[in-house]
């Protein structure tokens, strides 16, 4: 019975997601954080929804009534595919980025809470110069209108936050050599 209820809630959330993004853009986001006035002086950036795996959000579905375990360990019950790599993992653990008390938001070093739609502030803490370029549209990419509405990409659309190195791609075929044209 409870599972069915959770499924129904999740289903409605998927329906709501696009609306959430628009709302965030307009600066009226009402995440459970309660503390959403992070860096209000900065404009909000239009971004597509965060690239969550299906069914993982809201995290609080599971975490709301779970004990927080701050010890560094190999996760064995869940999230077993998450491994920190090439991201200064010796100096870092999950709860440096994820908020222990309400898992649906991220937490900055200052203690401020931000939504997943604004995860660029999290990355921007340590990658300041890249963040500056990103805001100007030079690191990462924008699509849409060059002289109008632009859609940004979150850092995490291109970099897995846990293993941020850009993944190699399969190239498209090379051009035909003149010798092969007939």
């Amino acid at each position: 019975m409870r599972i069915v209820l959770i499924l129904i809630v999740m289903f409605f959330f998927t329906l709501l997601q696009p609306i959430v993004v628009v709302a965030t853009h307009e600066g009226s986001h009402s995440n459970k954080s309660g503390e959403s006035k992070v860096e209000r002086d900065l404009p909000k950036y239009f971004v597509p929804p965060p690239p969550f795996s299906e069914g993982i959000f809201p995290c609080s579905d599971c975490h709301a009534d779970m004990e927080v375990n701050p010890t560094r360990r190999k996760l064995e019950m869940f999230h077993t595919n998450i491994e920190l790599k090439n991201h200064a993992e010796d100096q870092r653990w999950c709860l440096d980025c994820h908020n222990p008390d309400n898992r649906d938001v991220l937490r900055l070093a200052s203690g401020k809470l931000i939504s997943f739609e604004e995860s660029y502030y999290l990355c921007g803490q340590c990658h300041g110069t890249i963040f500056r370029d990103w805001k100007a549209g030079v690191h990462g990419k924008r699509t849409g209108e060059w002289n109008g509405k632009k859609v940004y990409r979150l850092c995490v659309h291109c970099h897995n936050p846990h293993q941020p190195r850009f993944k190699p791609l399969v190239p498209k075929p090379p051009p035909v050599k003149p010798i092969d044209i007939r």
């Binding site: 030079v138 060059w146 002289n147 498209k172 090379p174």
Partner: protein, 308 residues
């Protein structure tokens, strides 16, 4: 007396004109048998694009749309959108990000109706080994094909029309079929191009391509939204090249080019050089930029840079 002379000259003019007409029609009939279509006639005497007034332009557009719909059995729209005042387009390419995946090459082919067979690519991606002599376009490898890119120790440089402010290709054209528009885009009128390929010889970047045969594009892949000076279907025997997606960008608001939108690493930047808040101005002011073969004084509006 005077009146009579006037009438005489008029008559003579008329008869001269109709004779010319007859000759041309005869020539057309020899060249293209079985077509007594008026549109061939109109095409033959089409004025230079920049000398046409707006109603003449619309007439040409109408004729082309009719011709294309007959030929391709598709409703192809041909626009003639003018340059936006106060805009000069510029382009940036971040060599520290490009991974040589060639997504841009094929996005461009699709957007701009390039011939699939025989193959025409407006963008060529070159690769260089780190530490090797580079920016030697003639010697560079463009046929690389590893299972994954980037390959360690390599970097990649896409090359396309550099939209020179001082374009050598324009200078050599004997029919003035190619010119630089007010927003800085170098364009070609495929109805005026005679296929002499002087411009291809003059271009130091290998950016111009020739239709050796009738362009071959599967019907379902044709982009039906076109511009007269850009991606409208081409003919056998004409030259073509990148136009900064003139059919997308020349609008208020206008879309980014197809190559900018597809690039998975975000290496491609596009905007108005005259707008101090544009991405391209940010690149020029904050990054180390360079232009290809700068020493030739072509003054390209295509800037390569290293963001890191």
């Amino acid at each position: 007396m005077n009146e009579k002379k006037d009438k005489l000259t008029k008559e003579r003019r008329v008869s001269r004109r109709s004779m010319l007409k007859g000759m041309a029609a005869g020539a057309a009939a020899i060249a293209i048998p079985n077509t007594s279509d008026a549109s061939i006639w109109d095409a033959f005497f089409q004025k230079h694009f920049r000398e046409m007034n707006s109603s003449e332009v619309s007439a040409v557009i109408e004729r082309l749309e009719r011709e294309y719909s007959e030929k391709y059995k598709l409703p192809i729209e041909v626009k003639a959108t003018k340059a936006i005042p106060g805009v000069k387009f510029g382009y940036g390419l971040d060599l520290s990000r490009c991974i040589g995946c060639r997504r841009c090459v094929y996005a461009c082919v699709g957007e701009n109706n390039q011939s699939r067979n025989p193959q025409i690519h407006w963008i060529t991606v070159l690769t260089f080994k780190e530490g090797e002599k580079w920016v030697d376009l003639e010697e560079a490898n463009k046929y690389y094909n590893p299972s994954k890119v980037p390959e360690p120790g390599h970097f990649y440089m896409p090359v396309q029309c550099q939209q020179c402010e001082n374009p050598p290709c324009v200078k050599v054209c004997p029919t003035k079929a190619t010119w630089k528009e007010d927003d800085g885009i170098v364009v070609i009128d495929y109805n005026w191009c005679i296929g002499c390929r002087y411009c291809m010889a003059a271009c130091p970047y290998g950016a111009r391509h020739f239709n050796w045969a009738e362009p071959g594009i599967p019907k379902e892949e044709i982009n039906k939204s076109t511009h007269y000076l850009g991606n409208r279907p081409r003919y056998k025997g004409v030259v073509e090249k990148c136009t900064f997606c003139i059919q997308r960008t020349r609008h208020q608001p206008g879309r980014y080019t197809a190559c900018v939108e597809i690039c998975p690493v975000g290496a491609r930047k596009f905007g108005n050089l005259l707008d101090p808040d544009s991405e391209i101005r940010y690149c020029i002011e904050n990054k180390r930029v360079f232009r290809l073969k700068d020493d030739l004084n072509t003054n390209p509006k295509f800037f390569y840079f290293f963001a890191t």
